[in-house]
């Protein structure tokens, strides 16, 4: 069997690629290893409408809630400060199974053929081998996600190192729509998202997202920190959850999941060679500053679908805003991560000092001015 294009993986990136190719008249095969699109995928998840709408018509997007408030919480062992942000642009919380199915459906509606329960085992030339036989494609897009076995076997990238990998663990607690709205003081489709930066028991970033009738709660920490301190991922989650137990009291645990998040990738990973293209998580395209992986995945999938050759794909990746911000954020985040404690304390001390009208507490930070300046300069580099 011969196709114009074969896309491996029906996540956001793969479906965006298959959709783009099929819409342009190509005969496309979309291969997914899970029992259905999304069955193997994990994330928070919050998406930005402005990014999705660059590729897809978003009017019937299967969102859970429209995020009206984002709580930013800075936690250290003894202090906690909270800032509430009301986003001006449209942010949605989504459940991955529904969202990924919807995306794959767009690709199918455009004419792509989706086959599930099929794992690709190798690529040779324009031949894609699966456990059910092989198919040929003029163009091959590898959108296989963070555990990029194919991309690694083909030399597009190497395995991630402990210090450039975050392990995230997540739980979903369900109740009723009413109860979720009551606990978070929400009305109708409104939702709330929390971002929690903490240095205890180890530097970590956590989240709470409101879904329709459930709540997702999760935390991520760098693998090297987990190993060095010997804290098991579920122990980290339990410790992270402690202050928020009232939020899920009486709710029932519906799902536990985990995922690795790459903190390195393109351009140090090769995006393409000949007619084979790599996209999304497989290319390490998660913005470490905003935790946004779905947006860059969709954009890279779209670009791989559109690209006429390898050179133009690389060029388009560098030029795309969503991708360049991932690349620019990495050096800053590398600096910020080991200093999460410093910033948690700084934010807390600054806010308390302000409220109490006494800034003398901030004296301590004078010795860190050099470091703060360096981070500020790196931060300015992130701004276009």
């Amino acid at each position: 069997m011969k196709y114009d294009a074969i896309v491996i993986g029906a996540g956001p990136s793969g479906s965006a690629s298959a959709y783009t190719l099929a819409k342009n008249g190509y005969k496309v095969l979309l291969i997914e290893r899970g029992s259905e699109p999304g069955a193997k995928n994990v994330s928070g998840a919050m998406i930005r409408e402005s990014e999705i709408s660059k590729v897809f018509e978003t009017k019937d997007i299967p969102f859970e809630r429209i995020v009206k408030r984002v709580r930013l919480i800075f936690r250290s062992k003894d202090d906690e400060s909270e800032i509430i942000v009301k986003p001006k642009s449209k942010l949605y919380t989504i459940s991955r199974l529904k969202f990924d199915k919807w995306l794959a459906q767009r690709a199918e509606n455009a004419g792509a053929l989706l086959i599930t329960k099929t794992t690709v085992t190798g690529i040779e030339g324009n031949k894609v081998m699966t456990e059910r036989g092989s198919v040929e494609g003029d163009k091959i897009v590898i959108a296989e996600g963070a555990n990029a076995l194919l991309s690694m076997s083909l030399g597009f990238r190497r395995e991630l190192k402990n210090e450039e990998t975050v392990l995230g663990v997540k739980e979903v607690y369900a109740s009723t729509r009413n109860e979720v709205e009551k606990r978070f003081n929400l009305q109708g489709d409104e939702g709330e998202s929390w971002r929690i930066i903490s240095d205890y028991p180890l530097p970590s970033a956590g989240f709470i997202y409101t879904y329709k009738d459930s709540i997702a709660i999760g935390v991520g920490a760098r693998v090297d920190e987990i190993i060095t301190r010997g804290i098991r991922p579920f122990e980290l989650l339990d410790s992270f959850k402690m202050p928020y137990v009232e939020l899920v009291k009486g709710f029932s645990l519906r799902e536990y999941s985990a995922k690795i998040i790459p903190e390195n990738g393109f351009p140090s990973f090769k995006p393409c060679e000949g007619s084979v293209y790599v996209t999304g998580d497989a290319l390490g395209l998660v913005d470490p500053l905003t935790f946004d992986g779905i947006g860059p995945a969709i954009i890279s999938g779209y670009l791989a679908g559109k690209a006429e050759n390898c050179y133009s794909y690389s060029k388009m990746l560098f030029e795309a805003r969503e991708i360049s911000k991932v690349i620019k954020s990495r050096p800053l985040v590398k600096e910020l991560l080991p200093n999460i404690g410093l910033y948690s304390h700084l934010v807390n001390d600054f806010l308390t000092s302000w409220v109490e009208g006494d800034f003398s507490k901030l004296r301590y930070y004078k010795s860190s001015l050099g470091k703060l300046m360096k981070h500020l300069i790196l931060g300015l580099g992130v701004i276009e």
């Binding site: 290893r33 099929t118 739980e171 991922p233 645990l253 536990y256 690795i260």
Partner: protein, 93 residues
């Protein structure tokens, strides 16, 4: 909460053929002595345990996150995906 209680919430379709394998048990012994088995620490699903001088792999509980293959200092874990869409099937993700 115990890991087992968390794992009870999940839907699995078991692949008869393990998708995780240990290349060489001796290497695991060496790793346990030197590094205290990072695969045991990092695994969110208690897939790995060290029982009577041997690494036991309960691959059926795997969340397919891939952290163990990254942390294995000896590259001693053969890490594949379960076949034919078997393994974990998430409902929320």
């Amino acid at each position: 909460m115990r890991v087992e209680e968390r794992l009870y919430t999940l839907r699995y379709k078991r692949d008869e053929k393990p998708h995780l394998e240990i290349k060489d048990q001796q290497t695991c012994n060496k790793c346990h002595e030197t590094y205290k088995s990072p695969c045991i620490i990092v695994c969110p699903a208690n897939v790995y345990s060290f029982v009577e001088g041997k690494i036991i792999v309960s691959y059926e509980n795997c969340l397919e996150c891939g952290a163990c293959k990254i942390v294995c200092p000896f590259n001693n874990i053969i890490w594949k995906y379960p076949r034919y869409g078997l393994g974990i099937s998430l409902r929320y993700g």
